[in-house]
C-alpha cells in the first residue's frame, strides 16, 4: 500500500515556523492531556491562518435549513455541526476518539458510567457558552430519534442511558447494568450537540416525565413513546432562522452548487483553525470531483470512485497527492440460498474458485479496493488483529478452475459442449444483480459475468434502477446473487451484523434475539440457522454475532475466530474486495495532514472540518 507521506515533514516544518509567531492562545493547554485526547504532535501549535479552503460535499440543497438533524440539512459535521467527540477509525477499537466539544471523558472500568467534561471555552457562535443544558437537550432529541445509546425500547441494550448534570460543564451518563452494551460510550460521544436556547422549545415541556413513562411496558408507555417520536418530527423539520454553531465555522451563504462557511471567532479551538473560509462544492456525479481534482481546485476530497487513468492524471498535477488508508468496508457477492443450486455449498465454492478477483478489481475499482485474499467476513487489514494465526487456516479460494469443475460435479452439475448444466439438464445460469449508479459494482459484476461465461457458465448482469429498488427487492428475496457490503468495522458486532443479522434471519426485538425462517421478515440470504463448523461443532452464527455486543475482549476474539471460519467454510457471501480509502489533497494553498485514523470517522463523510478543527490543516504562504 502506497501512502504519500511527504506532507508530514512539510507540515512539521510549517508548524515549527508558525509556532513562534502566533498570539498567545487563550486556551488552557493540556485541555487534551487526558489519555484519549487529541493533537498528537506535542503542545498546541499555532497554525498559519488565512485563505479559503475548498472541498467537496454531496447532496447540497440550497433551500434546506442549517439543522443537523435534517437528513439533508446544511449543517456539516465538523464545520458548523459538532459532537462531543469524533470516533477514530482505529482498526480494532471502536471507542477511541478525537475531542469535539468534550475535552475530557472518563469511563468506569465496568463500562457503565461515562463522565464528560465540556471544553471550558466552548461557545456558540452567538456568544452563548456551551453548557450541560445543551447536552441534556441534545440527548433528549437523540431519544426522539432513537439514535446511538438513546433507545426507548424497554429491554434494548443501552436503553436506559440516564443523564445527570454534575455542574455547568460536566454531565454523567449511566447505562442499565441489566442490559449493558459495548456501544454505550461510542453512542454518547458521537451525539450531535445543538444549542438548548434554539432547539429546547421543540420538545414538549413534560419531556422528562414522558421519558420516564416510555420506559414502562404498558399502554401509557406506548403513548409516551409515540409522543416522543412525534416531537422528533418537529426537530427534523425545524428551520432555524440563522446558523448557530459551536464548530469552527458558520454557514454564510449557499447556492445550488456551493456552500460558503466562514470562521466562527467563538470556536474554542479557533487558534488551531487555519482557513478563514471553507467552500464546499456540491457534486452530483463523481466526474465533477475528477474535474476539480485534475484542475487542482480542491484542497482535499474524501473518497469517491476514480478510474485508473484519471487517478494518474490527478496525481500528475503538481501539488496533488493521494493518501491510501484502511477503509473498514468489504464488498461481497451474496447468495440467496432459497434459490437452487446456490443452496449447495459446492456450487458456492466452485464460484469462489472460478472468479479471478485480481482481474475483477483491476477492471472495476483499481484505486478503491484490493482483491480479497480470502473470505472471512473481515477486512484483510484487520483480520489478523481479530483472529490471529488462524487466518492461515482459511481457504484462500485462489483461482483454481479444475477444483471448480470438481466442486460443480460434486453438486451434480455436468459439462455439455463446454457449458455447465444442472442435474435436470437446464443450463446453469448465474444472474448477478447490481444497483444502478454503483459504477464499481456494475463493472465488477460485468467482469464476473464475463469470467463465468468464459468458464462455461451462463451469466449476465442485471441492474435495479437504483439502490432503493435494489434494497427492497433484495430484502424481498428476488435476487439469487447480488452485491452486499460486509465487514463494516471497526466494531466487531458491526462486522458480523451484516452477515449474520437481519439479512440472514436474526433480528433483535426488544433486546431479545429471534430467528426468522428463510424468506420471512427480511431473511433473504436464507442460510441455515446453524452450521457444522470444523473443530467447533454446531455453530449458531447469529447468536455469536449478537453476543459481540456485550462480550469481553477475550470472548470477542474467540467469537471472531469461529465466525471467520464459519464464513470461510460455508460462504454465505464470497468476499470480493476490501475497500481502500483513497483521498486526495493539494498542497498549493494548504497542507492537509491528518493522522491515518482520522481519514475515516464514523458517520462523517466530508472530513476536512474535523481535520481543520484539530489543527491538521495549515495555510501555505
Amino acid at each position: 500500500m502506497k501512502v504519500t507521506r511527504i506532507t508530514a515533514t512539510l507540515a512539521a516544518f510549517a508548524l515549527a515556523l508558525t509556532a513562534c509567531g502566533g498570539d498567545d492562545g487563550d486556551d488552557a493547554p493540556g485541555a487534551d492531556d487526558n489519555g484519549n485526547g487529541a493533537a498528537e504532535e506535542g503542545d498546541e501549535p499555532e497554525v498559519q491562518r488565512g485563505g479559503a479552503y475548498t472541498t467537496i460535499i454531496t447532496g447540497l440543497h440550497a433551500t434546506a435549513p442549517p439543522n443537523p438533524y435534517n437528513p439533508d440539512g446544511n449543517s456539516f459535521a465538523g464545520y458548523n455541526s459538532v459532537r462531543l467527540a469524533w470516533v477514530k477509525n482505529h482498526p480494532t477499537s471502536p471507542t477511541e476518539f478525537y475531542p469535539g466539544l468534550a475535552s475530557e471523558w472518563e469511563v468506569t472500568d465496568d463500562n457503565l458510567e461515562l463522565t464528560v467534561t465540556l471544553h471550558p471555552d466552548a461557545t456558540w457562535s452567538d456568544g452563548t457558552p456551551v453548557t450541560a443544558d445543551d447536552v441534556v437537550v441534545s440527548s433528549n432529541i437523540a431519544y426522539t430519534r432513537g439514535s446511538g445509546a438513546f433507545i426507548l425500547d424497554p429491554g434494548a441494550a443501552g436503553a436506559a442511558s440516564d443523564i445527570e448534570v454534575i455542574d455547568d460543564k460536566t454531565v454523567q451518563f449511566t447505562q442499565d447494568p441489566e442490559n449493558p452494551t459495548r456501544e454505550f460510550v461510542n453512542g454518547i460521544m458521537n451525539m450531535i450537540i445543538v444549542p438548548a436556547h434554539i432547539y429546547g422549545d421543540l420538545l414538549p415541556d413534560d419531556f422528562d416525565e414522558l421519558l420516564q413513562a416510555a420506559r414502562g411496558e404498558d399502554d401509557a408507555a406506548d403513548d409516551a413513546r409515540e409522543a416522543i417520536s412525534e416531537a422528533g418530527e418537529d426537530v427534523v423539520s425545524f428551520a432555524p432562522e440563522e446558523d448557530i454553531s459551536a464548530g469552527p465555522y458558520v454557514l454564510e451563504r449557499i447556492n445550488p452548487s456551493e456552500a460558503l462557511l466562514v470562521r466562527n471567532e467563538h470556536f474554542h479551538n479557533d487558534h488551531l483553525v487555519a482557513p478563514d473560509q471553507v467552500i464546499a462544492r456540491n457534486y452530483d456525479g463523481n466526474e465533477q470531483v475528477w474535474d476539480y481534482l485534475q484542475a487542482g481546485e480542491l484542497d482535499s476530497s474524501h473518497f469517491v470512485a476514480v478510474p485508473e487513468d484519471v487517478v494518474q492524471q490527478i496525481e500528475a498535477r503538481p501539488g496533488n497527492e493521494a493518501s491510501r488508508t484502511y477503509s473498514p468496508v468489504v464488498a461481497g457477492l451474496a447468495f440467496n440460498q432459497t434459490y437452487e443450486p446456490f443452496d449447495d455449498i459446492n456450487v458456492r465454492r466452485a464460484l469462489a474458485y472460478i472468479i479471478d478477483r485480481e482481474q475483477m478489481v483491476a477492471v472495476s475499482t483499481p484505486d478503491g479496493g484490493t482483491a480479497a485474499t480470502t473470505t472471512s467476513g473481515i477486512h484483510q487489514e484487520v483480520v489478523g488483529e481479530w483472529i490471529g494465526d488462524t487466518v492461515g487456516d482459511l481457504d484462500p479460494y485462489a483461482v483454481d478452475l479444475d477444483r471448480a469443475a470438481e466442486e460443480l460435479e460434486a453438486a451434480g452439475l455436468s459439462e455439455e459442449n463446454g457449458r455447465w448444466v444442472l442435474p435436470d439438464g437446464d443450463p446453469f445460469s448465474v444472474p448477478i444483480q447490481v444497483p444502478g449508479g454503483f459504477s464499481d459494482w456494475i463493472a465488477a459484476g460485468e467482469n464476473i459475468a464475463t469470467q463465468l461465461n468464459e468458464f462455461g457458465i451462463d451469466s449476465e448482469i442485471r441492474t435495479s434502477p437504483d439502490f432503493t429498488v435494489y434494497q427492497e427487492e433484495m430484502t424481498n428475496g428476488e435476487y439469487p446473487v447480488g452485491f452486499w457490503l460486509i465487514g463494516l468495522g471497526p466494531s466487531p458486532y458491526n462486522i458480523y451484523q451484516r452477515l449474520y443479522g437481519s439479512s440472514n434471519g436474526w433480528e433483535v426485538l426488544a433486546g431479545r434475539l429471534s430467528y426468522n425462517e428463510p424468506g420471512e421478515s427480511g431473511n433473504w440470504k436464507g442460510g441455515p440457522e446453524t452450521y457444522d463448523v470444523e473443530g467447533h461443532g454446531e455453530v449458531n452464527p447469529g447468536e455469536l454475532a449478537h453476543e459481540l455486543r456485550t462480550a469481553d475482549e477475550e470472548r470477542t476474539h474467540e467469537i471472531m475466530t469461529i465466525l471467520a471460519q464459519t464464513t470461510n467454510e460455508h460462504l454465505p457471501v464470497i468476499q470480493m474486495w476490501d475497500y481502500v480509502n483513497t483521498q486526495f489533497s493539494n498542497t498549493d494553498r494548504f497542507i492537509t495532514d491528518p493522522p491515518d485514523d482520522a481519514r475515516r470517522v464514523t458517520g462523517v463523510t466530508s472530513l476536512a472540518g474535523i481535520w481543520i478543527q484539530q489543527g491538521w490543516v495549515t495555510a501555505v504562504n
Binding site: 485534475q294 487513468d309 444502478g436 456494475i442 464475463t450 434502477p465
Partner: protein
C-alpha cells in the same frame, strides 16, 4: 409543409413505375450526398441485422488491455474489460435501430389511422380524436419517460419502442388529418363516395395512397426522434445502464470511466457518439431525397 400531389404513383402501371424509379435515380444523382445517405443507412441496417451474428459469443476480449488506445486492430480502442469498442457499437446498433423501427411503426399506425379517420369522418369523432391528439402533442415525453422508468425498466426494444411510439404519434395524426381534409374535397373522393364505396375502402384505397409518401418520410423522422430519446434516456443513467446500447456506452464513458476528464479515454465516448451522428445524417439525407422525389413542386423549382 409538403403537399402530396401523388397522382403519378397512384396510377399503377409498369411503365409509370419504371418512370418513377428513373426519377428516383435522377434525384439521387443530383446530390451525391443523398447516395451517401442511402449507403450509410444501408450500412446501419446491415450492422443491426447481421452485426451481432458476425461477432460470436462470448465476445472476444483482451483481458490484459483495458482502455487500449485506438489502433488498427481496435479502431476505437477497447473498453474497461478489454472488449473492442467498435464491436460494442456494432452490437449496440440492434437495440437502437430495432427500437427506432418499432417506435416508427407504432407512430405510423396510430398517427396515420387517427389522422385519416378524424379527417375523413369529421364531426364529433374528429373533435374527440383531435383533443386526444392535442394532449399527446403537449405531453413532455422525456420527463414522463424518466418518471416511468422508476416502475418500468424497458429491458427490451419492444417495450421501449412501444412507449416511445405511444408518446409520439400526435404530430403525424394532425398532419395526416389536414392532408385528408384537403383531399376529401377533391373530385375523386367525391366520386368514390358517389359510387357508394364503403368508408374503409375509400380510406384505404383512395386516401391512403396519396398520403403514403408523406407518411414514409414521417416514419424516418420519427425514427430520428426515437433514437434520440432512447439513447438519451440510457445516457442519463436513470434507466439501468446495462445492455448493449449506445446510450449505455455513453453513460459509462462519461460518468463512470472519465471519458470527459481524460482525453485518452475520449474514443470510448466518441464511438457511440459518432454512430449516433452518422445515423442522424443518414436519415436526414434520405428524407431530403424522399422530399424531392415525392414533392413535385420542389422538383420544379
Amino acid at each position: 409543409m409538403t403537399s402530396p400531389g401523388m397522382v403519378d404513383v397512384t396510377t399503377k402501371g409498369p411503365s409509370m413505375r419504371r418512370n418513377f424509379w428513373r426519377g428516383v435515380w435522377r434525384v439521387m444523382l443530383r446530390k451525391p450526398s443523398r447516395l451517401f445517405g442511402v449507403a450509410l443507412l444501408g450500412l446501419f441496417i446491415f450492422m443491426a441485422t447481421l452485426g451481432p451474428v458476425l461477432y460470436g459469443r462470448p465476445l472476444p476480449r483482451d483481458p490484459d488491455n483495458f482502455f487500449a488506445p485506438p489502433s488498427l486492430q481496435h479502431p476505437f480502442g477497447t473498453d474497461f474489460q478489454g472488449f473492442d469498442v467498435l464491436a460494442l457499437v456494432v452490437i449496440g446498433s440492434r437495440y437502437v435501430l430495432l427500437t427506432a423501427l418499432i417506435t416508427a411503426i407504432v407512430t405510423i399506425v396510430l398517427g396515420a389511422s387517427i389522422g385519416l379517420f378524424a379527417g375523413y369522418r369529421r364531426g364529433r369523432l374528429d373533435a374527440v380524436l383531435m383533443r386526444i391528439t392535442d394532449i399527446n402533442l403537449t405531453i413532455p415525453g422525456i420527463p414522463i419517460l424518466l418518471v416511468l422508468s422508476t416502475v418500468w425498466q424497458f429491458a427490451s426494444p419492444w417495450e421501449m419502442g412501444l412507449v416511445l411510439g405511444l408518446l409520439g404519434w400526435g404530430a403525424l395524426a394532425r398532419a395526416v388529418r389536414s392532408q385528408t381534409l384537403s383531399l376529401r374535397e377533391r373530385g375523386f373522393i367525391e366520386a368514390a363516395r358517389g359510387l357508394g364505396l364503403s368508408t374503409p375502402h375509400i380510406v384505404v384505397r383512395e386516401l391512403l395512397p396519396p398520403i403514403a409518401p408523406y407518411i414514409a418520410m414521417n416514419l424516418l423522422m420519427s425514427m430520428i426522434l426515437a433514437v434520440w430519446a432512447q439513447v438519451g434516456l440510457f445516457f442519463l443513467g436513470v434507466m439501468p445502464v446495462i445492455g448493449e446500447n449506445w446510450g449505455v456506452m455513453l453513460n459509462r464513458a462519461v460518468f463512470d470511466f472519465g471519458a470527459m476528464t481524460t482525453a485518452s479515454r475520449l474514443p470510448y465516448m466518441l464511438a457511440p457518439l459518432l454512430a449516433l451522428l452518422l445515423l442522424t445524417v443518414a436519415i436526414v439525407l434520405v428524407v431530403d431525397a424522399m422530399d424531392e422525389i415525392f414533392n413535385p413542386r420542389l422538383r420544379e423549382e
